[in-house]
Amino acid sequence: MFKKTALLLALPATMLLAWACGDGDDDVAKNYSVTVTLITPEDIAITDITDLKIVAVNTTTGVEATLSDLNGDGLAMEASLTAGEYDFRASGTTDDFKLNGLTSVPVYEDKNVSIVLNIVSGDGLIFKEIYYTGVMSYYWKDGFFELYNNSDEVQYLDGLIVGIVDGGFGAPSAWADESGNLPNRYPLTNHAIYFPGSGTQYPVQPGEGVVVATVAINHSARELTDEDEASPVDLSHANWNIYIPAQASDIEVEGIPNTKVAHSLWGFDFMPGVNGAALILAKLPEGVSVENYIEDPNSFQKTPVSGTWNQLMIPHEYVIDGVDIVYPLEGQQYKRLLPSEDIGMAWVYGKGGPGTSSAYSGKSLRRKVISITAEGKVVYKDTNNSSEDFIIGGQTPTPGVHPVKID
């Protein structure tokens, strides 16, 4: 009797203990070995490249790892990485060219990764600074961007299009295909604007900047009430005013020329949004005017899934500069621009520092200065890698002002 009862009681206890001992999730997270090889353009040897830098950026956590030269010859680089989704970014220079390349690769096992280096096009007009964050209370009309002639030749604004690239907020672009690949044409949202002119009417001299204001007035003098904060910018001396005629609330400013509207979808004014969006500066091929381009139905495409808008599309090869501005929280940063325009991403932090929304922080994104010539011309960094070219986190806006020292 004793034995039977003991067995009766012990059996379920033993079964429970045995079940409790089981542990099917015993695989601890580990690092993987990644070897990166570089593929250079024809006629450029790896040994011709100086300042070669390769970083692996975990696109979920934002953590960057710099790769080390495996054999000392620059051909193969190696890193030990945690599992995740990575952007492998490479950049360097030769005597004649700037090069960069981007490869997005998931790393969940040991991997070999190839990065194709491309010659970075364009030394002409670039975005020197972009201010989109606004100030309290919910004041964003003090936005501006500044174009800058970083080259040694005269550039012209005539016919250049400035657009905000569509893609949603803190999520992968709805325009990407099933594999996550972005399209070769950039969908523009909000208002796409352009500069008037016949081709040589609006020159920009080397080392000269052009401030384009959402509303070209002195915003720092705006009357403040309650929780309002003063705007950090006076845009009354801007070179251009963005005027959207269809919006009754928008204004023209005497003495300051207006940009023109290529295509409008929504919004009171030109608004990248207080958390930012990718911007492009595009130049149509010779002989194609903006007016002709927007008359062509092939220049438009319906919004994927919803079909809400018929959006103006700009082929990526028309882009002469682009900045992939993203939301400042890691894990919610998704690219909108192709590597040929920008292999990196840039963002502005909020007043609370890293990890906070940039909204109404009163800060702008500005390119780093890499040199100042003997004649005083400022040369901004332009490697088509906004992560490296811009001051990440932001700064106090400086429209029309150029630094006097190297960043």
Partner: protein, 517 residues
């Protein structure tokens, strides 16, 4: 929770209301001590112990407690107040014994930040938190009930159930609203083989459900729009708080066997061996909760042995406890995509253990009760406890280790003063930490969270406190009851090398009254 469970619990509840006094008032006054010394299974996991209650009792208590000071776990408020009201009772009807209670607790924590969890395990590394200090309120309601039935002279069977619900809210941006529920079922039985030996077995299962939703009223102020998805020692992920939702689902299972030995009326021993295992899975999102916020798995093996020696004047209890815990935190690497309808999808790309904790706890407790008549007049106890905890974070190989050796002592004296009984207690604690190590400097929030959390957890400290209880028999419309008033105070001081808590202490005070029938 089904309505059937609620009805079952409610059916147990009246036992504590209808329990009547049938013993002397001194027995009622000291019923908690009485239960301890007369129920060898008191602290076991087998609910058949309900049958061992020596007498019936009904206790209505209201209590207020307050504590403040900087020597505190990092997730607690600088100043806390706690109101509790509870009813507890034991009722015996022939072979059937009931034990049950209801408790309402209202806690306010001032200057509280970080974790917004309510009922998930304290060791769960996947909690959700914000860094903005605010005043946080927590309401908790506990309904518990158990019944034990003497089936035959050899067999007893019992069932205990506990239902716990609560809410946590903070009206400072980002504003968490956490709602949680735990339901616990604990059946058990035992069989007396001989006058000397009884073998028992008990099981337990519990269900956890908890959700947190954030709202942000002023979304553009610095930091207030940000929350952190913690991953143990690893860098937490930062998310926008606006509308962020997390939900936990969890289960617990446990099993214990008990062997009771009674050599005579004077010598007895309880040995209990058991295990406890729990799972808690976090999911984030809106309607779909598609983002996996981390799975937590923990298993504990435990051993308890309580030896009791009764003489005419003294009762000695020597209790040894040991438990070994291992926990795993499983993290999922996921990628976001959008389906053809525009819905956000998360695809799991990898799954691995990123957090592992191993802990060992052991303690030896000795209590002596000096009796006068049937009741203890003087009680004293000493305890020495050892805790070692080690956490490893993968793949970063961060680690946290500490050991803590704790010595506790207390003495309680009960005096008849006038018609009442005055109980005076003093207690003291000295804890020393021979091992402390935290290696996680590369982790985000190391300085603001990990380091202060660690220094508060495994630090050397000392504490002392005193309590006074005044109990006197009264009657209301010829219905006798016992009025019990109590008050206590304690202080706990940091006594270690690290600078963050140098000179820090925490004071507490409590008072309350109870009516015991």
């Amino acid at each position: 929770m089904s309505s059937g469970y609620k009805l079952f619990l409610l059916s147990l509840f009246p036992c504590c209301c209808i329990a009547q006094a049938d013993a002397g008032w001194e027995g009622k006054a000291l019923y908690k001590d009485h239960l301890y010394v007369n129920r060898l299974l008191q602290d076991s996991h087998n609910p058949v112990s309900i049958s061992d209650a020596p007498e019936e009792v009904a206790d209505f208590e209201v209590r207020y407690a307050s504590e403040q000071g900087d020597y505190k776990p990092i997730d607690r408020g600088r100043h806390e107040t706690l109101w509790t009201g509870n009813i507890y009772g034991i009722r015996k009807i022939d072979r059937l014994s009931f034990e049950g209670g209801i408790e309402y607790a209202n806690r306010m924590q001032a200057d509280k930040k970080w974790s917004n969890a309510l009922f998930i395990a304290g060791g769960n590394p996947f909690f959700i938190a914000d860094s903005i200090a605010g005043d946080q309120g927590t309401e908790q309601f506990t309904l518990s009930g158990g019944l034990s039935y003497v089936v035959t002279s050899r067999w007893r069977a019992a069932l205990r159930a506990v239902y716990l619900v609560g809410t946590l809210a903070d009206q400072t941006d980002p504003r968490p609203l956490t709602q949680g529920m735990r339901f616990y079922l604990n059946p058990g039985l035992d069989y007396r083989f001989s006058p000397s030996f009884t073998l028992g077995i008990s099981a337990g299962t519990a269900r956890l459900s908890e959700s947190t939703t954030y709202t942000v009223v002023n979304s553009i102020e610095p930091k207030v729009g940000t929350i952190f998805l913690f991953k143990g020692l690893g860098s937490p992920e930062t998310k926008s708080a606006i509308g962020y939702k997390r939900r936990y689902e969890g289960n617990q299972y446990m099993g214990h066997i008990q062997l009771v030995w009674n050599a005579s009326h004077t010598l007895s021993n309880l040995a209990e061996l058991g295990f406890f295992t729990a799972s808690e899975d976090a999911k984030d999102g809106d309607t779909g909760f598609d983002f996996k916020g981390g799975d937590y798995r923990t298993t504990t093996y435990m051993l308890t042995d309580r030896f009791q020696l009764k003489t005419l004047a003294f009762i000695h209890n020597l209790t040894l406890r040991a438990e070994h815990l291992q926990s795993n935190g499983i993290w999922y690497l996921q990628t976001q995509s959008t389906d053809t309808d525009g819905n956000t999808l998360w695809t799991i790309r990898d799954k691995s253990v990123t957090h592992r904790e191993t802990a060992l706890k052991a303690s030896l407790h000795y209590r002596i009760d000096h009796l006068k008549g049937a009741y203890p007049r003087l009680t004293s106890s000493v305890r020495v406890a050892f805790t070692h905890s080690g956490i490893r974070q993968y793949p970063d190989l961060y680690s946290r280790k500490y050991s803590l050796l704790t010595f506790d002592g207390d003495i309680t004296r009960r005096l008849h003063v006038g018609k009442g009984l005055l109980t005076l207690s003093l207690r003291a604690t000295y804890a020393v930490s021979p091992l402390q190590s935290l290696v996680a400097e590369g982790s985000k929030l190391y300085a603001s969270y990990l380091e202060p959390a660690f220094q508060a957890t495994g630090s050397s400290h000392y504490a002392c406190g005193a309590d006074v209880v005044w109990q006197t028999p009264l009657s209301l419309v010829s219905y006798p009851f016992l009025l019990s008033l109590h008050a206590g105070a304690a202080v706990r001081s940091y006594n270690d090398q690290a600078t963050l808590y140098s000179g820090a202490r925490r004071q507490s005070f409590n008072t309350g009254l109870s009516l015991i029938f």
